[in-house]
Amino acid sequence: MLPHEKALVERLKDKPFALIGINSDGDAAAVRKLLAEQGITWRNAVDVSGDGPWARAWNVSGWPTIYVLDHKGVIRFRDVREGELDAAVNELLAELEAAK
């Protein structure tokens, strides 16, 4: 997933697009270290653990869990990966473009 996500973020850096990680590996310092090590440039919510507040609230029980939201904040895809994720994001960006 990671190399693919990096490519996605790089490809869409000038588009109205955001990838947000919700990370379960510890506190903010731990997450900063991890992001630096992995060369991750996008924002990450510090959810501390697999039982963190966001994961709990959204009943996440498998990792990774992925939600794709459109520009209105509506959930449009769940648990798409790699090629499917690209296609989902492209579709929603095209929709946003058409809505302008």
Binding site: K15, N23, P64, L69, D70, I75, R76, V89
Partner: protein
């Protein structure tokens, strides 16, 4: 590589269920050890059966430990490096070969034979529960075990284990549904009825969302404060499952959530209106 993917890939390769990775209960954890379960001294033949169960448990555990050690050895070279395509195929072949000797397959019939020796005893119930928990592909054998437990041991609190397991078996849905309905209607123990209700909701969530929601609501109404065996209350787990069904489905406006990022800056999901957003719950842990 992320841990979760690693495990899932391994499981997919094995074509198996995570339950098979779990160690069985140790013999000392069985209810046979509690004095209240047997207020009078067991008849000599029951004591002998208990000893037989303990010995079988021990033998099975040793066999399973050896099995997992071998499995671990197969995966060890790829702890830090992904296997090449060729290595991957070879690994898959060896893992399949090893799984043909999975001790749960050879031991399940032995637990079943022991269970049949003295049908009404706790040893029998415990041995049948072992058969179900091994969750081998032998549908007929597991069905026998479930039927025997429902027919002869419905009053036992130990059936909460059966109720939980039935939420995750490969048995036909009709059979599982009927077994869970029996437990929900006829068990004298709230712990069994609650576990059966949660399992039934899990089983139905893909085919009948409306009924699954009803079952989660029933858990909240009747068993909110009851602690589940894996920790956490039934009320809590049902509330979260309902939230997912009612607020987090495709086509729904994503619930807002405020979080703090790696630089301790707070943000909300709604800050991103106007952008296409991917939310990725991830971690290496």
């Amino acid at each position: 590589m992320r841990r979760s993917i690693h495990v899932l890939v391994a499981l997919a390769a094995l074509g198996t269920h995570p339950s098979l990775w779990a160690r069985p209960q140790t013999p000392t954890a069985t209810p046979t050890a509690t004095p209240t379960a047997t207020p009078t001294a067991p008849a000599p033949d029951e004591a002998a059966l208990q000893a037989e169960l303990a010995a079988l448990d021990e033998e099975f555990e040793a066999a399973q430990r050896a099995f997992y050690d071998k499995l671990g050895e197969l995966y060890a070279p790829f702890e830090n490096t992904d296997p090449s395509e060729e290595e991957s195929a070879e690994l898959e072949r060896k893992v399949k070969e090893l799984y043909a000797q999975d001790p749960s397959k050879s031991f399940a019939p032995r637990f079943a034979a022991l269970a049949k020796k003295a049908p009404a005893t706790l040893v029998s119930a415990t041995a049948w529960l072992r058969v179900v928990n091994l969750r081998i592909d032998d549908e007929a054998l597991v069905k026998d075990a479930v039927s025997a437990l429902l027919a002869g041991h419905l009053e036992r609190a130990e059936l909460s284990e059966l109720a939980s397991t039935l939420g995750y078996t490969q048995l036909p849905q009709e059979f599982v549904r009927s077994a869970l309905d029996t437990l929900r209607a006829k068990s004298p123990h709230p712990s069994v009825r609650a576990a059966a209700t949660l399992s039934l909701a899990h089983v139905l969530v893909r085919s009948d969302v409306a009924q699954a929601k009803e079952l989660y609501r029933e858990l909240i109404a009747k068993f909110a404060a009851l602690e589940a065996s894996w920790g956490g209350s039934y009320g809590d787990v049902a509330t979260r499952a309902l939230f997912e069904l009612e607020r987090l489905q495709i086509g729904m406006l994503a619930p807002d959530f405020e979080a703090s990022d790696e630089n301790d800056v707070k943000f909300k999901v709604s800050d991103y209106r106007g952008k296409v957003v991917v939310l990725d719950f991830w971690g290496f842990w």
